[in-house]
Symmetry: C2
Subunit: 339 residues, 2 copies
């Protein structure tokens, strides 16, 4: 560090727009003073970062959040948006049964974007990264017409096999860890112009994926796993198709929390729809051999059945997921290009 | 594969828009029939991919390209845009002295985007990935107002130390591998409304980074390395600042190719400006110990000097890079938020 480079942030650092501060000024600000955790062997500031991959493999996933499509800055603070962008990716790492090791971030935004918005997003990315024990090791910032955050997460399997979507077998039990329906309820509240109850709106703004539950499930023998980002039924359909099985969800095992019942009543909505088709909570859903001891916090919510003649699994057209033995109207899958 | 899933592309696959085809339909199309190379242990289709990291470390970098900021679809084909997006990231891996192992791609685009544009970009990403011996192992597609491609590249150091920007020492020689100024000349041609000469326009459309030269330089003892993406002087300034040295470029060693001289004469431009400040060719610049045997194709173009009292290297304000011993007007750095 040179004498002319102050160690702390000054109050003027976040004034103005990115168009005034410039790309390198912003990068300097959001990198300054961050401590990198152990997996980061070489952090930001070079052509690329170097991250530990102790068992000789690295798990990698990428997801992009776009303003007005995935978030609104009048509904969420920049820090909440940053947390959510990190969480969506870290949950994908957990869903492979892996421990996260690093995040990289590519951010595009209009020149008029306040610097404080971008430092807020960076703070949120860092805060969520820290809850998962990792650092933001690299990134890119550029101009665009619309604010967009593409995050890549890396992870380590620590000598375990990855838990894919393809390993569910007839006879397995289906289990869930974490909340479903809360983010959807929060989004419904915000869409009606309300800002409370805080607990559901907060679930939309910042999901709380159970990161540690992914590796725990892998160690407990999970045969397939996914994070619930598009909706429980839609994501279970990914497992059912990849594993060539039918998954039957037992609705009685999916308690509707009182709070969601209250919100649904106030909005005239069906809370069960939120649980079965609401995305963005990033719970983990996994299948385990029948009789396996489920790790703490996992709840049995269904069974895995053979794909019978009655349920032809075609390309994308069939109903590989049932609720109480019957197809559930629509699978409620979220397609970012559907209207 | 099920009987209802055709093995080959039909002619109707690329008709219509992504809004009609949907997110999952597109992913299925761009993944289908791709062979993954050896480093890909688990390819696309799950929550995350798994890639080999044989020495227990992974090199990672991310870069985003935005339509109208980085490319125009009336100047480049979708395939050229895809190649360029991949090349920019693969060059960063090479600049660490690493071998690329995988690409991940996050793509955002308007609902009206033709499917053929997106499959063209995917084809280009795959084509460039193949020149570097890697696959596209994962990705995400979502809606946005503007076409944007964020690529993450991973790489392996194969037990070597990373070649950072911070290792240049006084007395080292500066060497260059690959073209500089060609992409800038091509961009200048396009900006005047011309479409030829093809060789410079092609350099803008698809750079040809010397990927293998990165690991070769590392093995030959390179002390610092960077890929020239923002402009030679601007990128050398990153090395000079990180290494706390002054770099002197010897202009006589930088031949102006006849073709660039011709183009410059036709446009009334100074070709030397293109060589010294033009970005996007993704040549590699590296410093080597004096007397080191430079690997094939590297050309000595300057020297590394101690930072003297006459050249105070402040925060960002000084001139750590000289041309023939003197500051070169502006350092020509490309800032994506500068106008």
């Amino acid at each position: 560090m040179t004498p002319s480079s102050p160690a702390g942030k000054s109050s003027t650092d976040t004034d103005g727009t990115i168009g005034q501060l410039g790309e390198f000024g912003l990068i300097k600000q959001v990198v300054r003073g961050r401590a990198q955790p152990a997996p980061t062997l070489l952090g930001p500031g070079d052509d690329a970062a170097v991250i530990a991959a102790p068992d000789g493999r690295v798990v990698a996933t990428t997801d992009v959040l776009v303003e007005t499509v995935h978030f609104r800055l009048d509904w969420s603070t920049p820090e909440q948006v940053g947390r959510r962008a990190a969480a969506a990716n870290l949950a994908d790492i957990a869903a492979m049964g892996a421990e996260p090791t690093a995040l990289l971030v590519a951010l595009a935004c209009p020149r008029s974007t306040p610097v404080s918005t971008l430092t807020g997003i960076a703070d949120g990315l860092w805060a969520e990264a820290e809850t998962a024990g990792v650092g933001v090791v690299g990134g890119d910032v550029t101009a665009s017409a619309q604010l967009m955050i593409a995050v890549t997460a890396l992870g380590s399997l620590d000598d375990r096999a990855p838990v894919t979507r393809a390993g569910a077998r007839p006879g397995d039990v289906l289990a869930l860890r974490g909340r479903v329906g809360w983010a959807a309820a929060g989004l419904a509240v915000l869409q009606r112009g309300f800002r409370s109850p805080a607990v559901v709106v907060g679930a939309h703004r910042v999901p709380e994926p159970p990161y540690a539950a992914g590796p725990e499930a892998a160690r407990a023998g999970a045969t397939a796993m996914i994070d619930v980002s598009d909706g429980l039924l839609a994501d279970l359909a990914h497992i059912a198709r990849a594993s060539d099985v039918v998954i039957d969800v037992h609705s009685a095992a999916l308690d509707v929390p009182d709070r969601l019942n209250d919100v649904a009543a106030a909005l005239g909505a069906d809370p069960r729809d939120w649980l079965l088709t609401g995305g963005d909570d990033h719970a983990l859903a996994a299948t385990f051999p029948d009789g396996a001891l489920l790790p703490s916090g996992w709840v049995r919510i269904g069974t895995v059945q053979p794909r019978g003649a009655a349920q032809p699994v075609g390309d994308d057209e069939s109903a590989p997921v049932l609720v109480d033995g019957r197809p559930y109207g629509t699978d409620g899958g979220w397609d970012h290009f559907a209207r």
